[in-house]
Amino acid sequence: MSNRPILLVEDNPDDVELTVRAFRQNNVENEVVVAEDGEAALRVLLEEGLSPSVVLLDLKLPKLDGLEVLERMRADERTRLFPAVILTSSREEDDLVRSYRLGANSYIRKPVDFQEFIEVVRQIGMYWLLVNEVAHDEAGMT
């Protein structure tokens, strides 16, 4: 299992709390780094050089929204290969298509039912932390 931290980009403290709770309930012990807006997320990734196992991105965020963060990540050599999963309430077809266009690795809708949500988070942990091999381009890291 990857020990790298999980970057959770989410402005709503309730959702942060519930997501972290869901990870813990699924026995995911990785550090969860929270960025409350798009700018903070980029700062953590580009300035602080965080190398997460997966970035969970909400779409509606203050300052830079999730899609803009994704676009910047994909444009930067250092963050280009990080797995990015859109985790959002939106069920708009448009959001889904644009996310994949900009290079999202996955698009997941947050269910309202918390038990379903726990299941979703379990699968995220299962796949991105356990099964998936992350390509970290060390040459690109400074």
Partner: protein, 664 residues
């Protein structure tokens, strides 16, 4: 002015024939001289020969006419012929020989009717001299010279006619002035033809122009001339016939006079009749024209060549403000101020023979503006000269105003459509933003409600009694219901916004697919679905599917208490629109409040009775409206329900009432 002349080709042919006869006669005689065949020189036995110099002079004159467009050459040829004739006249007059008679050919002495061998007759010489003068003048550029030339040619023609008549009656020796040479047959023929050709050379000018003019005057002139020539000649023949039959000369003379009087009397009577009819026709036509002009609402004006007003009809008085007596005899009053130069230009163009049709802003007598359509054209005098202009003015001020108003209204309408379109686009955009916000923001608190309730249940279970757990479960299920409601509202909003793609949809196939899905989703239910075969409708396939899904789900739901549930899908038609009906044998609904069925969030059954949120039928109505169709429901007294959806042929409005209500 050309149209006043008789057709040119005919005149051209006449002239060419006359020239050919003149030149041909001379040429035949020339051949006789060359080949020494006397018959060709005199044509009729016992008559004098045509002399070589006459042949030469006539050929020169015919040549001069043929090349008359090259003035100098033509004049030179005619002058040589004239010189030969004059020299011959000198010889005849003084009884001497200048040695010119035998220059070309020798004539044997003692030829018939010939005083001096080879010398032309005095008649021939003088006619040729006169003709040469006429042809030189006719070749001139100036119309006046041509006219004089034609008069001289008439003189020559009369001389030639006299000669021909004399020759025909074999009395040409009478014209020989005693001892001199007698006129020959070929010479007489050639001279007459030549004089005719000279007259026809310029049919556009002078005497000939009058003679060949179209119209009544030309006809009268031609008829009179013909009569003046033919009648005396014909009756002259009659007189000679009576005389030779033994009638005394004086009596024959009387008879001749009476015949001439009778003939010309008859001729005058016919002419008077024709003239009377023509004048009467003309008067009627003129009156008719006058009436039209007087009663016309258009301004009809005529101007003389200088631009002064000749006539000014009541229409013009009415339209332009000037009375006829104020403007007749004075310059055209519309040519004033800044319009002067413009009008002058137009008048000049008309004078040049052009027809004008244009629209202009002009000023009335009182200075007010008027927009007129001007139709102006030249008037020609009977002689083809420019006689002035006719001007017809139509007042199109009102028409222009209406056009401008129409244009303005159109622009306004376009602007309004643009504004409305922009408003609609903005409203759609707002709607889209709203759905996005609902989709995202409304769910987040719900998730918190559900999530933290669950957290309480998990982490604080020992502190909660049964009632407390129950409440938390209720909070959770309420959150989840609201989540479903949000989905339905978004679905309805999607239906109102999505762009229609019309195609032929296999309703039977879609209904069977949906039926299978419903059976799988409700394994405990036994519903018999009867679908009519070959049911097809023109609609958007995705929306039709959503509508049919909603109706079938409803049918499934409301037959849940029916023992033998049957749901039927069949073709339907309402107000000429095609569609389908979904009929079930479920609980049906009370007719009271049935009209609310298709409004969003309206339900006729309690939630505990049948679950639902009242969006399904609103979505169905919205889909029908989007297609320009409608949805309706009936429920017979003995239970069951029938829902009918129709699809119009055209595009429905993108924002329907139902949708607007749903958003409000």
């Amino acid at each position: 002015m050309r149209r006043l002349l008789r057709s040119r080709p005919l005149l051209e042919v006449g002239r060419a024939v006359a020239e050919a006869v003149a030149a041909g006669s001379a040429a035949v005689v020339l051949l006789g001289w060359l080949l020494a065949v006397p018959a060709l020189e005199y044509w009729i036995p016992g008559r004098p020969t045509m002399k070589a110099n006459s042949v030469l002079a006539i050929l020169l004159l015919a040549g001069a006419l043929a090349v008359r467009r090259r003035r100098l050459v033509s004049a030179l040829l005619a002058s040589i012929a004239g010189a030969v004739a004059l020299l011959s006249l000198v010889e005849i007059g003084f009884g001497t020989s200048l040695g010119i008679d035998q220059l070309l050919f020798h004539e044997r002495p003692g030829a018939i009717g010939t005083t001096s061998p080879g010398q032309m007759s005095p008649v021939a010489a003088s006619t040729i001299a006169v003709l040469s003068v006429a042809i030189v003048l006719i070749g001139c550029r100036s119309a006046r010279h041509v006219l004089v030339g034609q008069l001289v040619a008439v003189l020559a023609f009369l001389g030639a006619l006299t000669s021909v008549l004399a020759v025909a009656a074999d009395t040409s020796q009478l014209l020989a002035f005693g001892h001199t040479t007698v006129l020959s047959v070929p010479t007489a023929v050639a001279l007459l033809a030549l004089a005719l050709a000279a007259l026809l050379a310029r049919p556009d000018v002078g005497v000939t122009a009058s003679l060949v003019r179209r119209g009544f005057d030309g006809f009268v002139l031609r008829a009179s001339l013909c009569a003046a020539v033919v009648v005396p000649i014909a009756f002259g023949g009659v007189r000679e016939a009576f005389r030779s039959a033994g009638l005394e000369a004086t009596a024959a003379e009387w008879l001749y006079t009476v015949l001439i009087v009778a003939a010309f009397g008859a001729f005058a009577w016919i002419l008077a009749r024709l003239l009377g009819n023509a004048i009467s026709d003309y008067t009627v036509a003129a009156e008719r024209l006058h009436g039209i002009v007087e009663h016309s609402p258009l301004a009809v004006v005529t101007l003389d060549p200088e631009g002064d007003v000749v006539s000014w009809n009541p229409g013009a008085e009415q339209m332009l403000g000037w009375r006829a007596d104020e403007v007749v005899g004075r310059p055209y009053p519309l040519a004033r101020g800044q319009e002067l130069a413009e009008v002058r230009g137009e008048l000049a163009a008309v004078a040049a023979g052009r027809q004008l049709l244009l629209e202009q802003l002009r000023h009335r007598k009182d200075g007010s503006e008027i927009v007129v359509r001007v139709a102006a054209g030249p008037l020609w005098a009977p002689d083809g000269a420019f006689a002035g202009r006719s001007i017809v003015l139509t007042d199109i001020t009102r028409q222009r105003e209406v056009e401008a108003e129409l244009l303005r209204l159109n622009e306004e309408l376009e602007l309004r459509v643009e504004t409305r379109t922009a408003e609609l686009t903005a409203a759609n955009e707002e709607l889209r933003a709203l759905s996005y916000s609902i989709s995202h923001d409304l769910r987040t608190p719900l998730r918190a409600l559900d999530g933290f309730s669950q957290a309480l249940l998990e982490d604080y279970a020992p502190l909660l009694d049964a009632q407390g757990s129950n409440y938390l479960h209720r909070i959770r299920s309420a959150s989840q219901r609201m989540d479903g409601l949000i989905d339905d509202i978004l679905g309805l909003s999607h239906v109102t916004r999505v762009e229609l793609e019309w195609q032929c949809v296999d309703v039977s196939g879609v209904a069977r697919e949906l039926g299978d899905e419903l059976r799988r989703a409700n394994p405990g239910r036994d519903v018999r679905l009867e679908v009519e075969d070959g049911l097809e409708v023109d609609a958007d396939a995705r929306l039709l599917r959503i509508a049919l899904q909603n109706l079938l789900e409803n049918a499934w739901k409301f037959t849940s208490r029916t023992e033998r549930a049957v749901v039927e899908v069949c073709a339907a038609e309402r107000d000429g629109q095609r569609g389908f009906s979904v009929v079930d044998n479920g609980v049906g609904f009370s007719p009271v409040g049935a009209d609310k069925l298709f409004r969003p969030f309206q339900r006729l059954h309690g939630a505990s009775e049948f679950p639902g949120n009242g969006i399904g039928l609103a979505t169905v109505m919205s889909i029908a409206n989007r297609h320009g169709g409608t949805a309706s429901a009936e429920s017979p007294a003995d239970g069951g329900a029938c829902f009918t959806v129709t699809f119009g042929g055209g595009g429905g409005s993108p924002l329907t009432e139902a949708a607007a209500e749903a958003i409000a």
